[in-house]
């Protein structure tokens, strides 16, 4: 391991892991060609379910947005860990000498980038289909970032828990979605405030998302060692 403080090494290795995951994604383009269209499809299907009631859809747009993000995130997370299961990649990663915390942070960062792409596409869908406007841009941006980071760190932790088992496709949503329920609530409330649907304390909900990110980052850094060791 190269010289440098522990923190510097962890971050440098994390960037290497994130770069590897993003290169794989860039070559396969699964997020942009499959997950993002599926997210838009969820928005459209919801419009069918609500009989294309424009008032109802505008009121529920923030919630629909985060539901679509979460279902999309489940697919992205599954893929992020599936690529490690193939051809003994998990063992290779373990033998690389990276600190488990680096692997956790790297995978979370790569997931966050993919989720931001997904969210951008979904936001365009929301504006086009649901005629959503923005009342508070800084709140919208911060809530989007906070929600992304929460889903990314939670998703990385639970993705590792479900990785490598035969029923991971059904197990991951069962484990992850209850944990992300507060993030769904907070993201929805913050977006409702940012889009002017309510006058809720959007910044408080954004704060809750950042607290969740911090809590799950600490939990992930502590727990990823045993998870990676066991493979």
């Amino acid at each position: 391991m190269a010289a440098g403080s522990w923190g510097t090494v962890v971050w440098r290795d994390a960037l290497l892991v994130a770069g590897k995951d993003l290169r794989i994604e860039l070559r396969a383009r699964v997020t942009i060609t499959q997950v993002a269209p599926l997210g838009v499809l969820i928005l459209v299907v919801f419009a069918f379910a609500f009989n294309a009631n424009a008032v109802l859809l505008a009121q529920g747009a923030a919630g629909l947005y985060w539901v679509a993000v979460m279902f999309g995130a489940v697919l992205v997370i599954q893929r992020a860990f599936d690529v490690e299961s193939d051809d003994g990649n998990q063992d290779a990663l373990r033998l690389s000498g990276f600190h488990p915390g680096s692997i956790f942070l790297g995978k979370a960062m790569a997931l966050a980038v993919q989720l931001l792409v997904l969210q951008t596409v979904l936001w365009v869908g929301l504006v086009v289909f649901f005629d959503v406007g923005v009342a508070d841009w800084p709140l919208l941006g911060c809530a989007g970032l906070a929600g992304t980071s929460t889903i990314a760190v939670c998703g990385t932790l639970y993705g590792a828990l479900a990785a490598g088992v035969s029923v991971r496709d059904t197990l991951l949503p069962l484990l992850l979605l209850p944990v992300l329920a507060p993030a769904l609530l907070a993201g929805t409330r913050a977006f409702e405030a940012a889009t002017g649907v309510t006058t809720d304390a959007g910044w408080n909900w954004t704060g809750l998302l950042f607290v969740m990110t911090a809590v799950y980052t600490v939990a992930g850094l502590a727990a990823f060692g045993p998870l990676v060791e066991d493979g």
Binding site: V165, P182, M212, V215, D230
Partner: protein, 254 residues
Amino acid sequence: MSEELGSTAQGSMTASVATRVLGVVAAAAAALMLVLGLVVSPADVVQGEAVRLLYVHVPAIWVAYGSFGLTSLASALLLWRGRRRSDGGRHYDRLAGSAAECGVVFTAITLVSGSLWGKITWGTYWQWDARLTTTVLLFITYVGYLALRNLPAEPTVRARRAAVMALVSFVNVPIVHFSVDWWRTLHQPASLRIGRRPEITGEMYWTLLYSTLAVSVVAAWLMIHRYRVIRLEELRDEAGLAVALEQRRGEVVG
């Protein structure tokens, strides 16, 4: 403690003299609870006969919280000290699993009794109230935990993954609680709180306290038996593997 809990696991039964006595005590305690709850305790002036459901509802959730706490404690011990133990921490894993199963059962009892109480008092089985939402999320989280425990995987790996999930789930409990609390609440405040004057008095108060004790004894009895059943399942799997290996060797030699 591990020897005591698993003392009969070498045999084919899960009962011992101590658990038989505990079982009789639990049955008697539950019977007395029924008499106190259905006969001795009066109907409430506001809630009427529906108050009797609280003698099951409140103790069930207390026992569920205690069980999930025990799951977390056992999981922390597994991760911290499991590798130093001769059994690789399997004792802690069994303890965590049996406690979680009890917790899930008693959370289900809480949800069902609460829904029945809600139908009588609020006029609906379900409200998107903070406490109800938190409880159902807690229930689903631990159902997921049990699903993770039942995966076909190497027992030590599965135990460590389950332990990580138990600890992370426990960390999530206050986050879920506060988020839904800020979202909305309709549920009445807790009937009993440490350090506060209770909301109920007289026969109702004592019946509720007694019910909590009785349900705890029943839960302890169930938990010990589940621990031993898990141990027997492990022995069955190990024996099954040994028999299969022996048969395979026999085929090769033959």
